[in-house]
């Protein structure tokens, strides 16, 4: 890593660490941004670096969201009673500090591990497929995830679920999740930076460019693909667990692909920034979060129309994303002499 790059990273990190004290009004948007960066980076690992367009990653996010919340509650109360009481059952559920900390400490890793196990299981079944077949298949996963979340009364059904809250007086939950989200984004960025410096990156790039060739050269392609998807699922699971707690309300629509939320956004951010690069998804997430907030603030009512138009503009003018466009401008393709 060059010194300039290291200094830039440190400056961004320092800025992010002190941001809640200088611009507290943007704290929740920034918290969301750190998680968006995780969504985009993990999607790009499979969709960009490996060339497997997955519409099903939202499933792993959803597993993280619900498993974490269910464990946070379920360690101390009956989840079904907890969820049904929201209509005004009269019972008040309280969590003290120890209970809250314990729930989070067990819930987050459990969500991540279950998401990863699901990726191994589902991946073994669908990652034998190539290209478009895989994409359509994962689309089905998104649908299924939404239906299960919205239809299962234990999880609160269509009216969703509220993660437990701890009394605000001994810990600032907003600040806690700000730093947990920031920490996760930093860890994911570091882990993927390392991963992209290994032979594994060459192997998944080879699969992207010509999977038959990679197989003919002796690479165990299915195992490599499942590994990549599992890594993505693991971090998405943690991100999901945090996201539910950040929002303080779990909307089953969020875990569903068909509605234009997280499932689409993660793809959009990676494409906007530049597929198959480490910085692309990060830049894409930043730009996406800014435009999204502007649209939702100034174009309320038309925000989804504006977002739809943005998608069209991105695909037409930046098919390779911002990083891809920048590289092409800086280094025009060298004409090679035909031999």
């Amino acid at each position: 890593m060059s010194l300039t790059r290291l200094l830039v990273y440190l400056a961004v990190l320092a800025g992010a660490a002190v941001a809640p004290y200088f611009v507290p009004q943007y704290q929740s948007q920034l918290t969301e941004l750190w998680l968006f960066i995780v969504f985009a980076l993990t999607w790009d690992l499979v969709g960009g670096q490996m060339g497997y367009n997955s519409f099903g990653n939202v499933l792993f996010f959803g597993i993280g969201v619900y498993v974490t919340a269910v464990i946070q509650v379920g360690l101390f109360y009956d989840v079904a009673t907890y969820n049904s009481a929201r209509g005004g059952g009269g019972t008040v559920f309280t969590f003290d500090f120890t209970q809250y900390a314990l729930g989070l400490a067990i819930g987050l890793p459990a969500g991540a591990i279950l998401a990863a196990l699901t990726a191994i299981l589902v991946g073994s079944a669908v990652l034998g497929m190539r290209g478009q077949y895989f994409a359509v298949c994962t689309l089905g996963l998104g649908f299924a995830a939404a239906q299960i979340a919205a239809g299962w009364d234990y999880l609160g059904g269509g009216s969703g679920m509220v993660p437990p809250t701890a009394p605000d007086d001994f810990i600032n939950l907003g600040l806690l999740y700000y730093y947990l989200s920031l920490g996760l984004a930093v860890v994911v960025f570091a882990v993927l930076s390392w991963l992209y410096s290994t032979r594994f990156a060459l192997a998944i790039n080879a699969i992207r460019d010509d999977e038959d060739k990679a197989e003919a050269m002796g690479h165990l392609t299915t195992r490599i693909k499942i590994t990549a998807w599992t890594i993505a699922a693991f971090f998405l699971g943690i991100a999901g667990g945090l996201y539910g707690n950040v929002k303080r309300f779990i909307d089953p629509i969020d875990v569903a692909f068909p509605s234009a939320t997280i499932g689409i956004w993660m793809i959009l951010m990676a494409i906007l920034g530049g597929k198959g690069t480490i910085l692309g998804p990060v830049i894409g997430a930043v730009i996406f979060q800014i435009t999204k907030e502007l649209f939702w603030t100034y174009l309320l009512g038309w925000q989804r129309v504006a977002l739809g138009l943005l998608i069209v503009l991105i695909v037409v003018f930046f098919p390779e994303g911002i990083v891809g466009w920048w590289r092409r401008r800086k280094a025009p393709i060298v004409e090679t002499q035909a031999s």
Binding site: L202, N205, A206, A214, E215, M217, S339
Partner: protein, 246 residues
């Protein structure tokens, strides 16, 4: 004991018999040619050997063990590698990266994939790129090379893997005639210096007669003739097959 023994192999696609009862032997360190008119079943036989599709009947043995039921990657890991008729390279990676990811996975566990990519035999990659004359282009994306250069890169990638045996599907097709002699020379050197056994499909008769020590000729999915280049050249059945006397 031959390195590769194909014994009575048959393969049909629906009602079309692509290979019928074909038996060929390839001795260790030999250069063997496989010729035949278009549609005679040469590429099908290659695909059967490397495990692209299951065979209907017969056995294929490599290094004294049966490989006719093994998946593609496992056969490649035993050191039996093929190149494709249309060049197959990793287009969005540069030449050095194409080479680095082509090192043999034979004795490596899955975890070795998590080793640093820079240490992955860059020196050897550069040597072999020099060997095929692509050293100057090593940092270009493989997709930006001309078709002939891509075939040379694919050949270098195969050498990088240090296979025991290499199946080459029309190595000179699409290559500028002035470069063909250089390629033949490199194929011979790969055989002599690296000890790689070669089985070559080739339409260019001048090339295959010069290169191979032994030639098998297929026609209509069946083995028509076998012998030394001069025997094949003077075999009336081979001449008939090519001139269409069937």
């Amino acid at each position: 004991m031959a390195l590769l023994e194909v014994h009575n192999v048959s393969k049909s696609f629906g009602g079309v018999v692509a290979n019928r009862d074909i038996s060929i032997d390839v001795a260790e360190r030999a250069i063997v040619g496989l010729i035949g008119p278009n549609g005679s079943g040469k590429t099908t036989l290659f695909n059967s050997i490397v495990g692209t599709h299951p065979i209907d009947r017969g056995t294929i043995r490599f290094l004294d063990s049966d490989i006719s039921r093994l998946p593609i990657a496992q056969i490649a890991r035993r050191g039996l590698l093929r190149t494709f008729q249309q060049s197959r390279i990793y287009k969005q990676m540069n030449c050095v990266e194409n080479m680095q990811i082509s090192i043999s996975e034979r004795d490596r566990g899955f975890l070795s994939l998590f080793e640093n990519r820079q240490s992955a035999a860059t020196g050897q990659a550069n040597e072999l790129l020099e060997f095929v004359g692509l050293f100057e282009k090593r940092l270009l994306l493989a997709g930006e090379l001309s078709f002939g250069q891509q075939k040379l890169l694919e050949f270098a990638m195969a050498l990088m893997n240090r296979p025991r045996m290499l199946l080459l599907d029309e190595p000179t097709a699409g290559i500028n005639p002035t470069l063909i002699n250089g390629l033949i020379d490199r194929l011979k050197r790969a055989n002599a210096e690296f000890g790689i056994t070669l089985l070559v499909i080739e339409h260019n008769m001048r090339v295959i007669m010069d290169l191979a020590q032994h030639i098998y000729c297929l026609a209509h999915g069946e083995l028509l003739a076998a012998g030394t280049p001069s025997e094949i050249q003077n075999n009336p059945r081979v001449i008939d097959a090519y001139l269409g006397a069937h």
